[in-house]
């Protein structure tokens, strides 16, 4: 079981619209992703990265093809099943932090921890992402990078099998972006999480175990990186 790939995509396609205006966001994608890796999806805007992540995260159903994540065939799940799958298996980090403004950093993390029977300790998780001192602040009193680290802690606290991050540095400046990536890299490696990160910034690929290039809804190339760079070494 532990040798089987974490994610198996088999002829996955996603078409938006029909006829003349149909957009093939994903076009017959076949892909295996092993466990425990830091995987980066990269490609130009509109290449289907977000769509692919949404399919894997159970936010969206493909038009055709099979998606198996951690042994679960997502196509066999109904709405409730998908909700349970997301709750138990996946942690999300989005470009927009989407913190609840009327809850403190700690409470934002606890909000998600409440969902699962055996979460990590919310305080410790915040300490891990370097926010031990600010955990009682409301989001409006946190910088963008700090907010995104709260969002990361919120994704990790559930002990998900899989962390999905869609352009997590998209709203951040360089320094802050690096700091967030580095925390993300270190913490997930330490905890043995698998991470799927989407970006249009090819510099970030240097820190990945595996880089998957998307172009026009197809997998253009898969690179395996034997010696990933540390986040601090990145430049953009």
């Amino acid at each position: 079981m532990s040798d089987s790939p974490l994610i198996v995509l088999d002829h996955v396609s996603k078409v938006y619209g029909t006829g003349e205006v149909a957009v093939h966001a994903l076009n017959d994608i076949c892909l295996d992703v092993p466990r425990g890796e830091f995987v980066v999806f990269v490609g130009p805007s509109g290449s289907g990265k977000t769509t692919l992540l949404n399919v894997i995260g159970g936010l969206d159903q493909p038009t055709s093809g099979t998606t198996i994540v951690a042994g679960t065939d997502l196509g066999s799940l109904n709405e409730n099943g998908l909700t349970r799958y997301r709750r138990d298996k996946v942690g999300f980090v989005f470009q927009f932090f989407n913190l609840v403004p009327t809850l403190t950093a700690l409470e934002n993390v606890e909000l998600v921890a409440d969902l699962v029977p055996d979460p990590l300790d919310a305080r410790k998780t915040l300490e891990t992402v370097g926010l031990g001192e600010h955990m009682h602040r409301f989001p409006s009193a946190l910088s963008g990078g700090e907010q995104q680290r709260v969002a990361l802690a919120r994704a990790l606290v559930k002990r998900p099998a899989l962390v999905l991050a869609d352009e997590p540095t998209g709203s951040l400046d360089y320094e802050t972006g690096i700091r967030v990536l580095s925390v993300m890299r270190d913490v997930t490696r330490e905890m043995g999480h698998s991470v799927l990160l989407v970006t249009h910034n090819s510099e970030i690929t240097r820190m990945a175990d595996r880089v998957i290039h998307l172009r026009s809804g197809r997998v253009a190339e898969v690179e395996v990186n034997p010696s990933p760079a540390r986040a601090e070494e990145l430049r953009w």
Binding site: T83, R86, R87, F96, N98, T102, N108, L115
Partner: protein, 789 residues
């Protein structure tokens, strides 16, 4: 507490002024409902209790005169529970100074040495009737209160022109006179002028020439058999000149009480509905904004594994919180309102026994209403939140397209305002509806005031061009009026003739009075619905809509009128043609041409050929008191009522209505403010970013103020425009429901009412935008345009 609930509480605390405003509106709705429900139920229960304890009759059968022994026979008839025989006479009453010298009384006999089996009395002061050798009376409390009688005082009824001294033994309350009126025809309570009083039959009999005789049989029957038993008793009493029985439903006091209760019912429904509807709307608007602002968060929550149900309950929870707060506050306030209503009502109506209804089920219903309103209001936004797909967490919202309509060319600021309103038409409509319900409430309250004022001023200044009304006991020849015309200070005196009749049409009937109206009459005016002056033709009967509805006649139908009093043991009836409808404040009388009325009724009843039962008199300025006091010294004058007396009586009756209207106006304005505040504040929250952007572009607060004000005023005007027609319909419906036989209004809404309602709403709008504007001024601009809300 779960973090999601914590978020809810914090969100509510964050929006506390909106929360308070909506809670307030909810509480007002619940309070009105609960308050009027409690007083409605209390009144109903108090009547029931009084009827039960005092063995209130199920039927009354008047007879010309019958030996007291017939009561024994009736007692044995099937389904008869109790019987009492008695005499009941209208007499003139003389009083000591400083009381008004002459009033009218109904003296009813009580059995010697025992309590009556039907229609008992409750002694509230003094003692029951004592020894038969003493001339003692019990006075009905409304009369006693109005004329300041205490046990031991003297009072002087006149029997056959002779004044007899009585001592007041006690003050009583009676189930027959809870609404203290003389009878079905004179339904304005005038306790100062009319009173019921009770004397021992052995004392009374010789004085009225009816020793050992009765003129009325009162019955209690088994439930459901009232009508049949009454009919059987009438047949049994036929040899003694039995008249049509009066069933409990037709008994004057009871009927007025019931019609009052029924008249209040629409208020019970419409006012709370208006408030709770507005509360629901406000909840919907507030939550719609929340959901709008929190789409990303909801998307995230859904992505993290919160089920759609949790999101639905989360936002419904906000509605529920308002429902709970508003419900509890409303029940408390409603309790106070109920007590206040009861106190105001008690000034006119005192029940012998009170049965306050502080029933938990009433409170529970009121609370449930608040919950239903707030949950209904929360339903649509909560459902739309539950439908937000998790992917929303990732994508920005689609910018809404300006509509074609919005591309009209207007001055810039006006254009922005118009486009903003058109951009989200449903939201604009919702907001405007909130404003509209506030405006409606004020228009309705104003319409009631206008209509009442109009009815009174029409009646007092147009229909009645005289200063004094006189009633003769009994009727007289018109000579007496001719004589009055020669009195100093009398400008003009005209005779009046009122004959009690029962109007019948197609199986429906109604006790009322036929009034003679002579061609050439100068002191009274009749008007048709269009306001044109009208005079009854011979053979024609003119009356109001209210009576027409009771007996279901249309102009052109025929109506049968039967003389309905037993005093003279004669009968008279006439079939009349129904003429155009009249516009009347006191809606029950039927007008006939004077000579026609004399020919068809007065002569058959062996009244003098030129009979009058009263007169109306116009006096020279300053002569009102002089003429009135001369009238009081004139034989045959039972009652002389000056314009001031009538005005005072009307004021007393309308005082309650006036307070009620003022109260409604106050609540209406409060609600208007609360709603307008809520919706204005919501609009400003939504626009914060846009307005902050304007400021970064170099527009000053002045420009922002101008923009917001233009838009809000347009919203206020739109709401006002939307309010007009529904307000008209609601006011008409409620006015019709509130119209009773005793007091009828035509619907009038003065321009002032419209102007005042719209103006106060606009003022509320301007005041309500203040907190939002202050927030925008203090806003950190950089922050405002960065936050993606």
């Amino acid at each position: 507490m779960s973090r999601l609930n914590l978020k809810l509480l914090r969100d509510l605390a964050h929006a506390r002024w909106q929360f308070l405003a909506i809670t307030f509106v909810t509480a007002l709705g619940v309070a009105m409902y609960h308050g009027s429900m409690v007083s409605y139920e209390t009144q109903r229960a108090s009547y029931e209790l009084s009827y039960e304890r005092l063995a209130f009759g199920d039927a009354w059968i008047p007879v010309r005169r019958a030996p007291r022994a017939v009561v024994r026979q009736i007692e044995r008839m099937p389904n008869v529970v109790a019987v009492e025989g008695r005499t009941s006479e209208i007499v003139e009453i003389e009083q000591e100074k400083p009381r008004r010298p002459r009033v009218i009384g109904r003296i009813i006999s009580l059995p010697s040495g025992r309590e009556p089996a039907v229609n008992r009395l409750r002694i509230i002061e003094g003692s029951p009737l004592g020894s038969r050798s003493r001339r003692e009376l019990l006075l009905e409390q409304a009369f006693a209160r109005a004329n300041n009688y205490r046990p031991g005082d003297r009072i002087y009824p006149r029997f056959a022109g002779r004044r007899v001294r009585f001592r007041v033994a006690g003050i009583v309350s009676s189930a027959e006179f809870i609404y203290p009126v003389m009878g079905n025809v004179f339904s304005l309570p005038m306790p100062e002028l009319f009173g019921a009083m009770f004397a021992d039959e052995q004392v009374l009999g010789p004085l009225i020439g009816l020793s050992g005789q009765i003129t009325e049989v009162c019955l209690r029957t088994r439930p459901g058999s009232e009508a049949s038993v009454a009919a059987a008793v009438k047949r049994r009493l036929k040899p003694y000149g039995a008249e049509e029985p009066i069933l409990r439903a037709e008994q004057a006091s009871n009927k007025l009480l019931q019609s009052d209760l029924e008249g209040n019912k629409p208020f019970l429904v419409i006012m709370p509905a208006l408030f709770l509807g507005s509360a629901a709307l406000s909840v919907a608007l507030m939550l719609a904004r929340w959901v709008q602002a929190q789409r990303g968060i909801v998307g995230f929550l859904r992505a993290s594994g919160f089920p759609a149900r949790a999101i639905l309950f989360h936002y419904l929870g906000a509605g529920a919180a308002i429902g709970v707060a508003g419900g509890i506050a409303g029940i408390g306030m409603g309790h106070l309102i109920g007590m206040w209503f009861a106190a105001a009502y008690e000034r006119v109506i005192r029940t012998p026994f009170a049965a306050p209804q502080n029933r938990p089920d009433l409170a529970v219903t009121a609370f449930a209403l608040a919950m239903v309103a707030c949950l209904l209001g929360g339903w649509l936004p909560a459902r739309s939140a539950a439908r937000i797909v998790p992917a929303e967490a990732m994508r920005g919202m689609a910018a809404s397209q300006p509509r074609a309509l919005a591309r009209i060319r207007l001055p810039l600021f006006l254009a922005i305002a118009v486009r903003n309103m058109l951009r989200r038409p449903m939201r604009t409509l919702g907001t405007a509806s909130g404003v509209a319900s506030a405006v409606s409430l004020m228009i309705i309250a104003g319409t009631f005031r206008d209509s009442m004022m109009q009815a009174i001023s029409e009646a007092m200044d147009d229909f009645q061009r005289y200063d004094i009304t006189v009633a003769f006991v009994p009727e007289r020849s018109a000579n007496i009026v001719t004589a009055m015309n020669a009195w100093p200070g009398v400008r003009l005196a005209e005779g009046t003739l009122d004959i009690p009749v029962r109007a019948k049409h197609n199986g429906r009937e109604k006790d009322t009075v036929a009034m003679g109206f002579a061609r050439g009459t100068k002191l009274r005016v009749l008007r048709d619905m269009s306001g044109a002056s009208i005079v009854p033709e011979p053979g024609q009967a003119l009356y109001s809509n209210v009576l027409a509805k009771r007996i279901l006649t249309e102009p052109g139908d025929t109506v049968r009128l039967d003389y309905s009093q037993n005093i003279r043991g004669r009968s008279a009836s006439a079939v009349m043609k129904v003429g155009p409808r009249l516009r009347l404040m006191v809606a029950l009388p039927i007008y006939m041409e004077m000579e026609d009325l004399r020919r068809r009724f007065a002569r058959k009843l062996q009244m003098p050929p030129d009979a009058v039962t009263g007169a109306v008199i116009a006096v020279e300025p300053g002569y009102e008191r002089i003429v009135t006091s001369r009238l009081h010294r004139t034989d045959g004058v039972g009652l002389a009522l000056s314009r001031a007396d009538v005005t005072r009586q009307i004021d007393e009756v309308t005082a309650f209505a006036n307070t009620f209207i003022a109260f409604m106006y106050l609540l209406g304005s409060a609600m208007a403010f609360a709603i307008v505040y809520t919706v204005t504040d919501i609009v400003l929250w939504e626009r914060t970013r846009e307005l902050a952007t304007l400021r970064t572009l170099g527009y000053g607060m002045g420009s922002v103020l101008r923009l917001v004000t233009i838009e809000n005023i347009m919203m206020g005007l739109l709401g006002s425009a939307l309010a007009m027609y529904p307000a008209y319909l609601l006011a008409r419906f409620m006015l019709e429901a509130a119209n009773t036989e005793g007091f009828t209004m035509l619907m009038v809404t003065s321009p002032t009412t419209y102007a005042l309602s719209v103006a106060s709403t606009l003022v509320a709008v301007l005041a309500a935008q203040w907190p939002g504007l202050r927030r925008i001024r203090r806003l950190d601009l950089a922050d405002a345009i960065r936050t993606r809300e």
